[in-house]
């Protein structure tokens, strides 16, 4: 059953895309199948979505990522870090599910373009994921039936840097300044004890 579905998907995709894509399957020891598909052109994702829709599948999620990710560099290099001008490549992983199979289809956007074809008209379950990607990664959608903001207010402009993300503002950790105060205050506390 699973093998049939895998073969069916592969042949349907090959019929439409020829041999421009790379596809490999891996099965873990509990029999869970994951497919990894790399597409040549960004617009090919529409074809994959059509094939998945034909197999009564759905979208699990969409994970866009910047690579080489500037976020990781920031974590490694500390203060005094100036923003590098390296071009960022956007890779978008679309995770689909059909017949007990998890399939990930990856597209890479060209450097000069941050636009993708929306697959929501084909697969309804992509709706929120695409809208999230539009806001959090500034990837524009073409042909989305309801491209309204999901998280951010409509009056916030994505290019406008007056807004500081909460994660950046807090960084979710204790800073050096904070630790200096802890170490300092604790020394004072120790002295006070001695005087007593």
């Amino acid at each position: 059953m699973k093998q049939e579905a895998m073969d069916q998907f592969q042949s349907l995709l090959a019929k439409k895309l020829g041999n421009t894509f790379r596809l490999k399957w891996d099965t873990d020891r509990k029999g869970v199948v994951c497919g990894w598909c790399r597409l040549a052109a960004p617009d090919d994702i529409v074809i994959v979505a059509e094939v998945i829709a034909g197999l009564q599948g759905r979208v699990l999620t969409i994970s866009p990522l910047n690579t080489p990710s500037p976020l990781v560099e920031q974590a490694v290099v500390d203060e005094g870090f100036t923003e590098a001008e390296d071009p960022i490549q956007v890779v978008i992983n679309y995770h689909f599910f059909f017949y007990e199979i998890n399939l990930t289809a990856a597209i890479t956007l060209p450097d000069d373009r941050r636009t993708v074809q929306s697959i929501t008209p084909i697969l309804r379950s992509a709706d929120w994921h695409e809208r999230e990607m539009q806001e959090l990664f500034n990837i524009r959608l073409q042909g989305h039936p309801n491209p309204k903001r999901l998280f951010l207010d409509k009056d916030i402009y994505l290019k406008d840097h007056t807004m500081i993300p909460l994660s950046e503002a807090l960084n979710g950790a204790s800073t050096n300044t904070l630790w200096e105060r802890i170490m300092e205050s604790n020394q004072k506390g120790a002295h006070a004890d001695e005087q007593l």
Binding site: I182, M183, N186
Partner: protein
Amino acid sequence: MIRFFKVILKNIIQGPSTIKYPFEDSPAPEKLRGKIVHNADACVACHLCEYVCAGGAIKMQESEDHQGIDFVVWHDTCTFCGLCEYYCPTKAIHLTNDYHTAHVQADKYNYVEKTFVKKQPCICCGEPMVPISPAMVEQIYGQEGDIRGLSKMCPQCRRKILWKGGVSKS
């Protein structure tokens, strides 16, 4: 509805399920993860706890007089996840079941667990070094312990001795 009245009646007879904390003590199970205590004698200052701590609540740094390592846990940013205890090779860190962490605002920077891991001089060259704790010695050398005193030497001296004495003999 009648079925539920039975439940209500049962609950009334049973009495209240809550306790009058803080006027009454609320016992905590032994496994509860609460405030951290650190045993400086068992610590080998490997910094693993600092590495795994998500909240950045643990700080280990050399003291100003270079005589040892200051170990500080700031309880106000600790999430009580217990990763430090789990990964501590000598179990020098322990999360007690003491969950009482209320304190006044003025004490917020003082609300720490602070210990001092004292350095000892190397038995060969006298250079101060973080001693390998007895717990670690037992882990490495087994029950009979470190007969050759390697654990009391700084890394440089240890290397020299091992090179001279031949590793294969022991």
